[in-house]
Homo-oligomer: 275 residues x 3
């Protein structure tokens, strides 16, 4: 059996882009298990894809090939394959998408630029390297082919890194932003549980959640949705480790607050109406 | 080869929830075939998921592990694995989601609560038992591991059952509700073909379909979409056995009637304009 | 190992239709790899499905079974399996969906009508032949079963062919239509790169893109998205070989032009404001 490929992209599934990459892998690496981690990364959002990959790493087989594609500059970026210091293999564009993941594992051991004509499906489409460059490279690695076959070694210090927005954590106050809104309307913030502790807000009985558009809520910290009655607000550390604003069914937290991805949110202790 | 896992949820595919469960299964049960039955169950709708599972059972390998997750009370419900009287294995929350399926097969032979630390991915996220409890349990069973490894046996009579809305079937009249609207606008009702016969409406030349919001149509019973000309209305037993209101292309039946899931629909004989 | 099945449909993934076909294949052809090429073909659009399949053929294993389902007349059309002159196997409705694909490969060698009771899942639902006829037939072929087992041979010249809309290519002018709009708002036209050359428009410095609804843009020919600055318009040959109207992030070309699938678009040389 071949090694698995874990595939992540912003392709969505309305078009055939994911499917044709699967077809290419099926052709080049017969029997290769392909795990679709997600193809719902917001279009062109390299940071969101990078965070999702890094957060998911503990749940991915160590010997799987990670194939990640979010590439606003397809046709301009280098296509790379990377082995990190723990021996994991990654394939994707050189735009920072992979960088948080390899930092989890001690950084880059070896990187190559995927240019070998024995790998590429030619003619390479200028706008679909996933099909013609990245999927074939991942299939090669899944079959046990050496990294060096893909193309020339490149210096790790020339690889792009993604800049992730960090929250401003102060005593009693956090200024952060919305990472994502999910299917249930939960508002994922770019704040780790440990940062809530660092601000001291975890000791507040109730936390005021405010947004620039005027939406606000008063929430208590909870472990899970089921801790909330209908219409009650909570702050929960979500399964990926991010603080999320949630509201008891049937209220949709994101709609009620009026926020979308990338927008600012402020957290502070709620002092009540008479304070 | 491992046994298959057939996976059903209300997770949608915008987020990585389905994908990370696949990654966990790929890690714990290498080579396990995973069939995604559907991840489009309406969010938190336990009844819809339960019906879909029970209706699909005849098309699922008998030796597959069924992994089903629709769990508004995640973190509160017990997580269970069940072997039914026919020997099928199910993994899911103890909220009734699995109950119509096991009733198809003579009820529960053995049930266990999934609590074994050798199975759980710890720390278990309070809000994502699918990843940390249910998928690992399904992977264990797919690898041929015994049910008893998952945790202590629980009494079948303590398991939750789902209550499904039943139509009111009278001579010449059915009061029912909308189960689902599909991609083509077909309106699936909670009425079996046999119930149409029981009401005698199958003998009516034309059937009046009415809704509380004022939408109505006059339909004839047909076998398939292709029996309808453009704009003609029909009542058809759909592939899952439910009566559905359909309309010949390009009319969208659901939009034209103005109905959504859960709403009431009345069926009666059409007596024509002069009656 | 069984042969692969490559599966294409207009089913979407909101309902369980794709999933239950997967379950049937898993039951009848254990371990069969199934590649979902796309289930996002616009509902009932046989031409769009037919083009997608033909365009994707070079990326699909030669020994894979192609299972394609876009079938507005399900229950009326014959269900067929076809071996083309190159030996590829196709399963689908006899409505032209498969015809552009087999023409790529020299036409039909053998065709059969799928009617054998040893193949059908009975009772066959009048409205879901994908589950009860086509998926079982594909599974049979994937297991290495002979074509002849499926049912009687039918004459290739009785098979339906799809009529595809062709652009009107004149010197300095192309009248075409929108094939599809993708996730990034790119407008795919029914024009091949070679037809742009045939019209001489490839030699125009800038090309005027006009629509009946009044939307227009002035575009230059480019190789990929990354060649455009924000708000700049381009005409690019997309990865499937179709000319596409694109616009530099964050402008959505389709929304800005106000076009949808099937609508007319005119291309001509831009003569500038003073011409």
């Amino acid at each position: 059996m071949t090694r698995s490929i874990v595939f992540l992209s912003d392709f969505g599934i309305r078009n055939e882009w994911v499917g044709v990459c699967h077809a290419v892998i099926d052709k080049l690496a017969p029997g290769c298990p392909v795990v679709d981690l997600s193809h719902g990364v917001p279009p062109l959002d390299v940071s969101a894809g990078a965070l999702l990959l890094a957060d998911s790493l503990p749940f991915i087989r160590h010997d799987a090939i990670v194939l990640a594609v979010v590439d606003p500059s397809v046709g301009r970026d280098r296509d790379i394959a990377v082995e990190d210091e723990e021996g994991r293999l990654f394939v994707g564009p050189d735009n920072g998408l992979l960088s948080p993941a390899w930092h989890v594992e001690g950084g880059v051991r070896t990187a190559v630029s995927i240019t070998s004509s024995s790998i590429l499906l030619e003619p390479v489409s200028a706008s679909f390297h996933a099909r013609d460059v990245l999927a074939p490279a991942a299939a090669h690695l899944a079959m046990g082919g050496p990294l060096a076959d893909l193309g020339p070694v490149i210096a790790p210090d020339t690889l792009a890194e993604v800049q992730l927005a960090e929250p401003l954590v102060e005593p009693g106050k956090i200024t952060c932003e919305v990472l994502d809104i999910n299917r249930f309307g939960n508002v994922q913030l770019n704040v780790r549980g440990s940062q809530l502790v660092a601000s001291g807000l975890d000791r507040a009985e109730r936390i005021l959640v405010e947004t620039p558009v005027g939406g606000s809520a008063v929430a208590s910290t909870v472990a899970t949705y089921a801790d909330l009655s209908s219409g009650e607000w909570g702050l929960m550390v979500d399964p990926r480790g991010w603080l999320s604003v949630i509201c008891g069914n049937p209220i949709n937290a994101a709609q009620s607050l009026g926020v979308a991805g990338g927008e600012v949110v402020w957290l502070s202790p709620d002092r009540g109406p008479s304070d």
